[in-house]
Symmetry: C2
Subunit: 404 residues, 2 copies
């Protein structure tokens, strides 16, 4: 049997007869090329797929047959309406496995189940409080996961990877080293807890970094490679994205500007208090919204409070911008719903301090941003592990049989 | 004629008969592989070079003959002392071209001439002042370059690239957008000025970024991929290196933390004034050194002044560290000669504020740091342009004849 290898960098193409171990390697390489082409550009006929994957049509036919037997590829129903017999089209079976994305925050736990293309199938939410002890929060995580699996009709065995976003400083091994927003959360063994229940690969990452990833892949920053994600809320936090990849830094502490003593972003929400237009007795959770609403109406004291809040954000954002020079700042987090009253004063402050003032945009992914980012991260991790011949055999990390 | 191509990623090796245009491309690829191996690992015999470049010995013999005719490779004198006839060894002709590195600062212009391996052959220095008008500074640059070419016996035609480091915000096109340290320097057409005189490729880059590069390639940071270079002097500045590459950011303003209004690093040296131990009438240039010397002796007021200076540096460094999480901070610039009195208090301040306190080290390259970085940048740029088959033919940027 003959396979074709193209030496792409020089544009040379030669046909090589190969046998034995070489054949196995070649079949896997070809299968990976076909899968990669299907995933990147969607369903295709054999002819189109052969072009995309730069393989001979005879080769792609054998490869696709193998991939169908292994459960990676499915034939699609022929599309009606065309004259003559339409050519068969094939697609990547994104339903072959499932990805869980988790957002573990101070006030909510959010779980989503997605397919291998990152399409969200189901979402579950569990309310929590910042003061709850660790065991109760972990129990809420378990309930959210169970409800999400049940709601999406997913068997635990079909979950290939779970990614959890957590507030706090998360190191390169996924340990929550320090959490100020959630009591009793520093050093929580989250990876172990999830791994023991789900028996799949588990990754834990900082929530702002996942939110930033979501905005880059699915949100308002799809056209931008260098940006800062600014989580605005009663506490503020940040993440840096350089060349399309969330920056972790030497030990996972990149983006943790919130702990800088000059900015004190952990308490920045307090600058929105004591606004006369906000009725006494307004619940703490609703104060900021009331201030933003009053500012929107033109209330002078409310606008002053917003400007106090924005000035601190701007000082912290300028420090980051003068360090990494981003093209864009994305406002995310709870207060980004009031981006209409935040963005203009923030731009004004940044313009007086930055050498190159970045563009400002509000998040479009809402409060599922972190969970969606977790899914994106999980899908990208699987692609790296499963579909990259440099890293290891498809079999090692995959519940599906090895492709030879 | 037959050449060998190895399909490296899969470990397969096949011998292909090729002709015409393919042959030309193959010969160039093989020549680049041989050159790259010689440059990376030093002089070698044909046998050793064939191993390094992963080529057949018969192939490497032809390649090396071509490269010698073209002036890229030279045969070395046989080393004596060995029994029998020693095998001939070959080396990259680093003397085939020259690189100029420039450091254009507030108080000096420094020019160095180096070979294609970045070995510095000659250094020239011209004193300038921050207040001098642009034309006088450019004239000092010209004098430094001329003296350095003469001193190293270099003909202008042998210079393949010149790289200038300048204070200030330098954009991605090498324009000095803004300079606060040097009067009358913002928007200086430096690239055009040097290009018109030298008639070679010219690059202009921020001086701290070049100093950071020098520390990574030749200095104290050779073992570190993620670091901040902190220029300490009467004015302070910074550069960020991530994954071994100085970060420029979306528009070249990365590392410009010095202009942040909370740190005001452009005037930080003023915190070292009014120390009683410094004799009245000490020239402004010598005040800081006198304060450091007094602090070294244990003078309480001098130590207080040093701590004032260090606290501001630490706040700015913490802002950068909490943004990119580096493993190391390198202290460079004029005051780094007094790193012995700066590093301990700086470490103390950083430890109270950073989540992961980076290691601190003093520069070892002294005040040639920027010029050496300029040479490193020039050599790396040439390697990318000349020795990378992806970018273009060797002929396009090279004064040497094309290699086919």
């Amino acid at each position: 049997m003959e396979f074709t290898i193209k030496i792409r960098q020089e544009g040379l193409s030669v046909t090589l007869p190969v046998t034995g171990g070489d054949l196995q390697r070649l079949r896997r390489l070809n299968a990976l090329a076909a899968l990669s082409a299907l995933r990147a550009e969607g369903p295709a006929t054999l002819t189109r797929l052969a072009e995309r994957a730069d393989l001979a049509r005879a080769t792609i036919k054998v490869v696709v047959k193998d991939l169908m037997e292994l459960g990676w590829v499915a034939q699609m129903d022929p599309s009606g309406g065309e004259k003559g017999r339409p050519a068969r089209r094939y697609r990547f079976r994104a339903e072959a496995g499932r990805v869980i994305g988790l957002d573990i925050g101070a006030h909510k736990v959010l779980a989503v189940v997605a397919d291998l293309d990152g399409n969200v199938l189901h979402t579950t939410r569990e309310p929590v409080t910042p003061e709850q002890p660790r065991a109760e929060r972990l129990a809420a995580v378990d309930r959210a996961v169970d409800a999400c699996l049940a709601g999406s009709g997913t068997a635990a065995a079909d979950v290939w990877i779970a990614v959890a976003g957590s507030t706090g400083y998360v190191d390169l091994e996924g340990r929550v080293v320090l959490s100020r927003a959630i009591r009793d959360w520093s050093s929580v063994p989250l990876t172990d807890h999830l791994g023991a229940r789900l028996r799949c690969a588990v990754l834990v990452e900082n929530d702002s970094r996942l939110a930033a990833l979501a905005e880059c892949r699915r949100g308002i920053a799809r056209d931008t490679r260098n940006l800062i994600f600014l989580h605005v809320g009663r506490r503020a936090g940040a993440a840096v994205v350089l060349d399309g990849v969330p920056l972790r830094g030497g030990g996972g502490a990149a983006g943790e500007i919130g702990v800088h003593p000059l900015f004190n972003l952990g308490h920045v929400g307090e600058l929105l208090q004591a606004v006369p237009a906000v009725e006494p007795g307004t619940p703490p959770d609703a104060v900021a919204g009331a201030v933003f609403e009053a500012a929107r109406r033109g209330d002078v004291e409310a606008r002053r409070a917003v400007l106090r809040y924005v000035k601190v954000l701007a000082l912290a954002t300028t420090a980051m911008a003068l360090t990494v020079d981003p093209d864009l700042v994305v406002l995310g987090g709870g207060f980004s719903r009031s981006a209409d009253v935040l963005i203009e004063p923030l731009r004004g402050e940044l313009e007086t301090m930055c050498l190159r003032t970045p563009e400002l945009r509000a998040s479009v992914l809402g409060d599922e941003c972190v969970a969606v980012g977790a899914v994106c991260y999980g899908v990208e991790h699987l692609s790296k592990m499963l579909f990259n011949p440099e890293i290891g055999p498809l079999s090692a990390a995959s519940p599906l049989p090895i492709m030879v």
